[in-house]
Symmetry: C2
Subunit: 337 residues, 2 copies
């Protein structure tokens, strides 16, 4: 595993375009995909003051509404090296900003993979960011308290959060840029807990439009990545799962085992009261996947020589080393020219 | 005015990088700016089922929350020709997607101005898109019924909307790509009507970080553009207002008259029951601005030879011609190298 990493780091410093070179794009753009028009009936007419101090206007909330679409943004490099498009899907309560500039201002994985020559698609999951949201969703949206991700995403151990910055502890050698924690919290958006099926529908619509492709998922979107792989095993040609909250359905391995899978898990997860269970989903699935003849690589970063990585490894200080590891794996699997 | 347009169209076809050439960027990235951490107290603990079929978890909504930040994305062309950064602000119920790929799939003003050599910043107004939103906002969010913008944004005359696509009328020679109307409706996001001050605060934080600059506004953000100009007349060096809903404060012209202003209004506005009043804000302000010695250009597109443009002129079929007109004006004012 150390050898794997050493080669990956070599690749990061040798084969790829340097961050100082311009990014040359054949094209860049965006679109919304999926969704439907629904009719709302039986709601009372409201009085709304649109301009502060203005006269109230009657607003009838009944009628047809566009809902459940997903926003997608794409960047197509001039010097294309990836054989297939690369789709980056973010985790819960976040948007595609996950892969853009990191909270500490350094370039994220979006720029890394564009520079590496991948046609790269980022998207805001249905309900979040530029996808918009709708009052037709069931239940209330959840918002994360300011300190919540600190422990839950393993920047510090359980009990380490403190409203006083000076009294906050991290795991030893934490790679998350802790001065940028407030900046990370600005990336959060409210999320519902009732919309998984609609989110998956929109991802499938995207895959049907863009793929065959490679899908990279993180955290909550791990679930979505596996569900979409199971729905479209002929279109998802490789799956890179960064600390997925769940793995696939063991009963469906026969139909998806032709797709190689790379799962990467950060530090301080194996013995963590919560993360050891989350990690176990991937461990158990990987064993069944390999037993069925599938190609599954599970990397615990500390075993590969990378220490201190959080759940947000694409924002960690050493994120380029992890991107290089992914790039190396994709190259080994034959997905680059 | 026809001469102005003829030169603008020449400029569009001669001086600028062609859409077939690659887009070369020194850098691209994103950040969130502004906002604050607020404490929520006194709310009951809720039970939330995070995974369908799972065990409910207790969620305490009390605590500190990050709110009111704004998302900004930037593209810095290799062949920089604009002397100042160009900031594109969108209208109500929308996001920066307004300036990206048009609903008909053609390139929008973002790509146009990057290709023209401007360091270009697009942003989702506080509360919308990747800026996130917060349950701390007052009142309810408003969503637009599917047919609403058809008449309100002057694609068709009042009374022309029909749920049956075949029975829908447009203004004669309408430039809006009507087959792409459903795609446009996917770009919409809910908006509040109580958050103007917080939106303006975030825009001022952006201007304080990035400017001196040129600000281009549309519709609702016309109000924000004028308010920010009045707050930072030394930083907003030019204002391009596309069908702004309001104009500036006539009592504050003395302090902002050093900033040249270009306002562009589409077709079918002058005699429109609603738009004639909206247009009059700009007409009245422009007269006072010029009387005070300021530099104000107000273009009614049909008087300049461009017919059929809607309120969404950056998405209209002839959007490049209007961008060329803006480019010509900025060049005339000395903002390009």
């Amino acid at each position: 595993m150390r050898k794997f990493l050493a080669i990956a780091i070599l690749c990061a410093t040798a084969g790829l375009a340097s961050a100082a070179e311009p990014i040359a794009l054949r094209d860049m753009g965006s679109f919304h995909i999926g969704g439907r028009v629904v009719e709302i009936t039986g709601k009372p007419v409201k009085e709304v003051v649109f301009t502060p101090g203005g006269v109230p206007a009657k607003v009838d909330p009944n009628g047809n509404y566009q809902v459940e679409q997903m926003y997608v943004q794409y960047f197509l490099p001039q010097n294309k090296k990836g054989k297939l498009p690369l789709l980056l899907w973010h985790g819960g309560g976040l948007t595609a900003v996950t892969y853009e500039t990191k909270p500490d201002g350094q370039p994220g994985w979006l720029n890394y993979f564009i520079r590496a020559g991948w046609d790269t698609y980022i998207s805001d999951a249905m309900e979040r960011g530029r996808s918009g949201w709708s009052s037709t969703f069931k239940g209330e949206a959840i918002e994360l308290p300011f300190g919540d991700p600190w422990e839950r995403f393993r920047i510090g151990p359980i009990g380490s959060w403190n409203d006083d910055n000076a009294k906050r502890a991290t795991f030893p050698g934490a790679q998350f840029p802790i001065d940028a924690y407030p900046q990370f919290m600005k990336q959060g958006v409210p999320r519902w807990v009732t919309t998984d099926e609609e989110i998956i529908k929109a991802y499938i619509a995207l895959v049907d439009k863009i793929c065959p492709c490679i899908v990279l998922v993180h955290s909550q979107s791990g679930t979505f990545g596996y569900r979409v792989l199971e729905a479209r095993p002929d279109k998802v040609k490789a799956l890179v799962a960064i600390e997925p909250t769940l793995a696939g359905d063991k009963n469906k391995i026969a139909s998806v085992k032709g797709t190689p899978i790379l799962t990467i898990i950060g530090d301080n997860a194996k013995d963590h009261p919560r993360w050891k269970n989350i990690r176990q989903h991937s461990v158990g699935y990987s064993e069944a996947f390999k037993a069925a003849g599938g190609d599954f690589t599970l990397v615990d970063l500390p075993d590969a020589g990378l220490k201190g990585n959080s759940h947000l490894m694409m924002m960690d200080k050493n994120s380029d080393q992890i991107a290089a590891m992914i790039q190396k794996w994709l190259t080994d699997k034959g997905f680059t020219n």
